[in-house]
């Protein structure tokens, strides 16, 4: 069966200019992510992992190269068009959870739905949020505030928020960085289950144990993709 391409990066470079010095964060990165993939990107500190993830998440623009997501070339998009694509096609999970303390768990998860081009009815929002809460087994915490939850629970809420708009891809940045090993394992377990249920995931991690849980492992070194393994095979 032919897999559907969700994301395609062709020859992506990213340069930073600081104090008249050029830093090449990414140098000619090529990457294609297909429907149902579970990719891990690992590498040493400063290798460009986070830069790659922010470019993938449309939070930053590449210096050169082509980036296509869900059939859209993002090179010449406006700020608003990029926000809309981000809203509709990308789900983010951050190391520091990035939940809004003033909002309840329910409202945190519903947040992406509020920025949709086509607003949903309250009923539909409720059904989507509840369904995502069920996926992360946190239905009983809907009315709690994030600061009333443990780190692991907060990360699960962050995952539910990332899933609520049914995105093309889940971008996950060091999901276990702020968690103890027990909670970290539980979150990783959840991501694997989501992938098995069909969610496409691209994860940045420096923990080789968790990197191994992905179906495709990429290694980034000095801004270039060093190795690529899929199910243990080079492609």
């Amino acid at each position: 069966m032919t897999k559907l391409s969700k994301i395609k990066l062709t020859n992506i470079t990213k340069k930073f200019l600081t104090n008249e010095m050029e830093t090449h964060a990414l140098q000619g990165v090529n990457l294609e992510i297909f429907d149902g993939d579970y990719i891990s990107i690992s590498g040493p500190s400063g290798c460009g992992k986070s830069t790659l993830l922010t470019i993938l998440g449309l939070l930053d623009t590449p210096t050169s190269g082509e980036y296509i997501i869900a059939g859209n070339n993002v090179s010449a998009l406006t700020v608003n068009e990029r926000a809309t694509l981000r809203n509709e096609h990308i789900g983010f999970v951050f190391q520091s959870f990035n939940l809004i303390d003033e909002l309840s768990v329910f409202d945190n998860i519903a947040l992406p739905l509020r920025y949709r081009q086509q607003p949903l009815s309250s009923k539909e929002i409720q059904s989507r949020v509840i369904s995502c809460l069920e996926k992360v087994q946190m239905s009983h915490r809907a009315q709690h505030k994030p600061n009333q939850l443990s780190g692991g629970q907060q990360q699960r809420i962050a995952i539910a928020r990332a899933l609520v708009n049914d995105p093309a891809i889940l971008l996950v940045d060091e999901p276990t960085g702020n968690l103890d090993s027990k909670n970290g394992d539980a979150v990783m377990q959840m991501l694997s289950e989501l992938n098995r249920a069909g969610t496409t995931i691209c994860m940045v991690t420096h923990d080789p144990r968790y990197a191994d849980m992905a179906t495709t492992k990429l290694h980034l070194l000095d801004g270039t993709m060093a190795e690529e393994f899929s199910m243990g095979l080079a492609v």
């Binding site: 986070s50 922010t54 998440g57 939070l59 930053d60 700020v79 608003n80 926000a83 809309t84 981000r86 809203n87 509709e88 990308i90 983010f92 951050f94 190391q95 520091s96 990035n98 939940l99 809004i100 003033e102 909002l103 409202d107 947040l111 992406p112 509020r114 920025y115 949709r116 081009q117 086509q118 607003p119 928020r161 708009n165 940045d173 960085g177 702020n178």
Partner: protein, 801 residues
């Protein structure tokens, strides 16, 4: 759009929850703006009512007031009319379409308990039709109750009917005595009726018909501001045209009278009704508006700083929103929702507050400004302040979101606790401080320029001793014969009371202005129209009014043998006689009736609304056709005791008016005091806001530098060197603010004096006061936040605790 509406609706709910968790931020914004919006609403309301709101009469813009001019020796003054000339204009059919004749006629309601004194106006029936007076009960005058119809009918104001006639439903057809005349009450005006304030800002309490005969052949001896007319000119007739033609006619009439003073003439000087009502209140109203707008700018600068800090605080939340797909407009909606909630709350509280302020200041505002009857917040003011509030909310949200670099937001999301979050740039901080200081400097300079003449006026000695002096006017009832003898008896009996130190007869007190008369030299040459007082021989000693040369009047012992003497003020003596001695010279109050100058008395300074002091005055012996007295007391004197004295002389006698001179003086200084109170309140409010704002910005700046200060401290820096470092850096925008404030104030003064004919007596005192004051406020605002950091252990600053 529908998406944004949807987002905004939810943002309002979420913002409410967020703000509930930020009580100090919410309170500061709401309190600052509520007070400012309250001041703005009051001042906008005043300006709208005084300057802009159309008069509530049909075709009001076509109504004119038939003011006259009077020219003496080439000097022209306005606002004094003659009844026969007004009657001539009233009778004109060539230029005048319709005209109402008006004459002030105050009096006591004799049939009402306590015989209250009310402000009345005699009017012809056209008054009601021209103004389309709405009636609560009965009717207004018909054409058979007009001038020379010899009818005595009255229309009560709604307030008079309620207060003095107990809202009696069957009032129509009843009779009541006003002064010495009986009137049939034929109507009660509706409470919504505001009578045009042609004669000042006092609301008319009763309208009476002209019961006396009026013609062009009599009443030529009384030129007064208490007579006037409201007219509508015939279609196609311009005011200028009517002034020319009717002015010439009334001057011809005037010149044809016997005993007309040489070198005098009169004319017509019709003015639109609105112009007459506004008079010179617009300057004060506009100055208040300028002050309150400056206050608004200061408040907005404060709020801007608070919203910048809030935006910095919300940076992380906004980054999360952006990461899940929020566009810049969504972030704006989020910030706007907060601003909208806070500013709406401030607007509502501000309106309630302004309602209270107006209720509290109602009497004072009515005294100072026209059209303040039935004072309440006008719908236009509510809408205007609402629009201002909405604009502030939009600007705050826009400025706050502008501080947020959308494309850099994501930096906030990486890692946990990396970076210090968003900061307000040094340039923005300095700009905020400089703006605050600049605005406050302008306001202080402006306020001092307004206040210094006001304080001069308040502090200026009046020129006589008003302490424990009481003015008494006796109501003689129907007694008309032997007034002089009665007066002598009353004076004697009052003087015998142990509480009384001295008694003098006087037509009025020196505090009652407006009594003016011609003055001629011995050759019948007109010397001008001069303030006049009529007193007996004891008056100057009773009032401790210094006689600088000569003496007081000879004793007045007989009403038929009044001494042919005159006493003049120092300024008048100087003008008329220069350095020559005045005593023994001849002056005349009427032609061919020489009076010898027997005394020169000190100038008195009676404060009056908007006028300079009338220093030139002359005094004549008072023969007395009125029973009025000035009494110097040793101790309080009961009203009952005075009444007892009066009734033992004649049982018909009663007290008509009695008041202390101090009270009258207080009333004369009321405008100056009100101006001072309003200005000082405005400045204090502005200074408080500016000081709080400067403190807020500088405190934020120090907060941002805590870590750096911690390093300095850890490396052994002395506290005084750190304080001096921070204060020096912070004082730069303060100095720029003060300098730009000075430049703006000077420019505003120069432009203002070109555009408007006004005089602001700015002096060096303004600068000597304003500059150190702003400097001190700024230094305290700089020092305080630094002190908090340096007095704690350095490690706290290093840990950002």
């Amino acid at each position: 759009m529908s998406s944004l509406r949807h987002v905004f609706g939810q943002e309002l709910r979420l913002s409410f929850a967020s703000l509930m968790r930020l009580p100090s931020f919410s309170f500061t914004v709401i309190a600052t703006l509520a007070v400012t919006l309250a001041a703005l609403a009051v001042v906008l309301n005043i300006n709208y009512l005084v300057l802009t709101k159309p008069l509530p009469y049909p075709d009001a813009e076509t109504l004119v007031v038939t003011d006259q001019s009077e020219t003496i020796n080439g000097d022209t003054q306005y606002g004094f009319q003659l009844l026969p000339t007004q009657f001539h204009i009233y009778s004109d059919t060539t230029y005048i379409e319709e005209m109402a004749l008006m004459s002030i006629s105050d009096g006591k309601l004799r049939d009402i308990e306590g015989t209250p004194f009310i402000d009345g106006l005699r009017v012809s029936p056209e008054y009601f039709s021209l103004l389309n007076t709405p009636m609560l009960l009965g009717r207004y005058f018909n054409k058979n109750e007009g001038v020379n119809d010899q009818q005595s009918v009255a229309v009560l104001s709604a307030k008079t009917w309620q207060e003095h006639f107990k809202s009696e439903p069957a009032i129509i057809g009843q009779f009541t005595r006003i002064g010495n005349q009986q009137y049939k009450i034929i109507g009660v005006a509706a409470p919504s009726f505001s009578d045009p304030e042609v004669f000042g800002h006092t609301a008319t309490e009763v309208w009476m018909s002209f019961s006396q005969e009026i013609s062009t052949t009599q009443d030529w001896d009384s030129i007064t501001g208490g007579i006037n007319g409201i007219a509508r000119l015939k279609a196609g007739i311009a005011i200028k045209q009517a002034n020319m033609a009717l002015g010439e006619q009334i001057n011809d009439l005037y010149q044809s009278q016997e005993g007309v003073a040489p070198d005098t003439s009169i004319g017509a000087r019709f003015v639109p009704l609105k112009t007459k009502i506004i008079d010179d209140s617009d300057t004060m109203a506009l100055m208040l508006l300028a002050g309150v707008i400056t206050l608004l700018f200061i408040a907005v600068t404060n709020i801007t700083n608070l919203f910048f800090s809030r935006a910095a605080e919300k940076q992380r939340v906004m980054a999360i929103q952006a990461a899940v797909g929020a566009q810049p407009k969504h972030l704006f909606a989020s910030m706007f929702a907060e601003a909208f909630l806070l500013i709406s709350a401030a607007w509502v509280i501000g309106l309630v507050l302004s309602g209270w302020i107006m209720l509290w200041l109602e009497n004072d505002l009515q005294y100072m400004f026209p059209r303040m009857q039935n004072l309440q917040l006008d719908a236009v003011t509510v809408v205007a302040s609402g629009i201002v509030s909405l604009l502030i909310a939009l600007v705050m949200a826009k400025l706050a979101v502008k501080q947020v670099n959308y494309s850099k937001l994501i930096d906030d999301l990486h890692g946990s606790g990396k970076g210090t979050g968003a900061q307000i740039s040094a340039f923005t901080r300095n700009l905020l401080v400089a703006t605050q200081v600049s605005l406050a400097t302008v306001l202080i300079l402006g306020a001092i320029a307004v206040l210094s003449p006001v304080f001069d006026r308040l502090a200026k000695p009046v020129g006589f001793n008003s302490d424990l002096v009481t003015y008494l006017r006796v109501d003689s009832g129907a007694v008309e014969e032997g007034v002089f003898e009665y007066a002598q008896q009353i004076k004697q009996k009052l003087a015998n009371l142990p509480e009384v130190q001295g008694v003098a007869r006087a037509l009025s007190t020196p505090l009652a202005m407006g009594w003016k008369n011609y003055l001629y030299d011995s050759n019948n040459k007109m010397l001008g129209i001069v303030s006049t007082g009529m007193y007996d021989q004891d008056f100057f000693s009773v009032l401790e009014h210094p006689i600088l040369a000569g003496r007081s009047f000879s004793d007045i012992t007989n009403s038929d043998a009044i001494p042919q003497e005159i006493i003049i003020s120092e300024s008048l003596a100087k003008r008329v006689f220069g350095n020559k001695p005045a005593i023994g010279q001849i002056l005349q109050a009427a032609q061919n009736e020489p009076l010898t100058v027997v005394g020169v008395v000190g100038d008195i300074r009676v404060p009056d609304i908007g006028y300079d002091y009338e220093l030139e005055r002359y005094y004549l012996p008072y023969p007395g056709d009125q029973l009025s007295f000035t009494i110097k007391l040793n101790a309080p004197l009961a009203r009952a005791k005075i009444l007892n004295v009066l009734t033992t002389i004649n049982p018909n006698f009663s007290i008509s008016r009695i008041y202390d001179l101090d009270w009258a003086l207080e009333r004369r200084l009321r405008e100056a005091k009100l101006v001072a109170i309003l200005t000082v309140s405005l400045v204090l409010l502005a200074l408080t806001l500016a000081a709080a704002g400067i403190y807020g910005v500088l405190s934020y700046a120090v907060q941002m530098r805590r870590y750096e200060l911690g390093i300095h401290l850890a490396l052994g820096a002395h506290t005084h060197s750190l304080i001096s470092m921070v204060v020096k850096q912070s004082m730069m925008p303060v100095c720029i603010g003060i300098l730009s404030g000075l430049v703006i104030a000077v420019m505003a003064h120069l432009i203002g004096s070109q555009l408007w004919v006004y005089e602001l007596r700015a002096n060096m005192l303004s600068f000597a006061f304003a500059l150190p004051l702003m400097g001190v406020i700024a230094i305290i605002a700089c020092y305080w936040p630094v002190k908090k950091v340096i007095t704690a252990d350095p490690i706290k600053a290093l840990r950002n605790e």
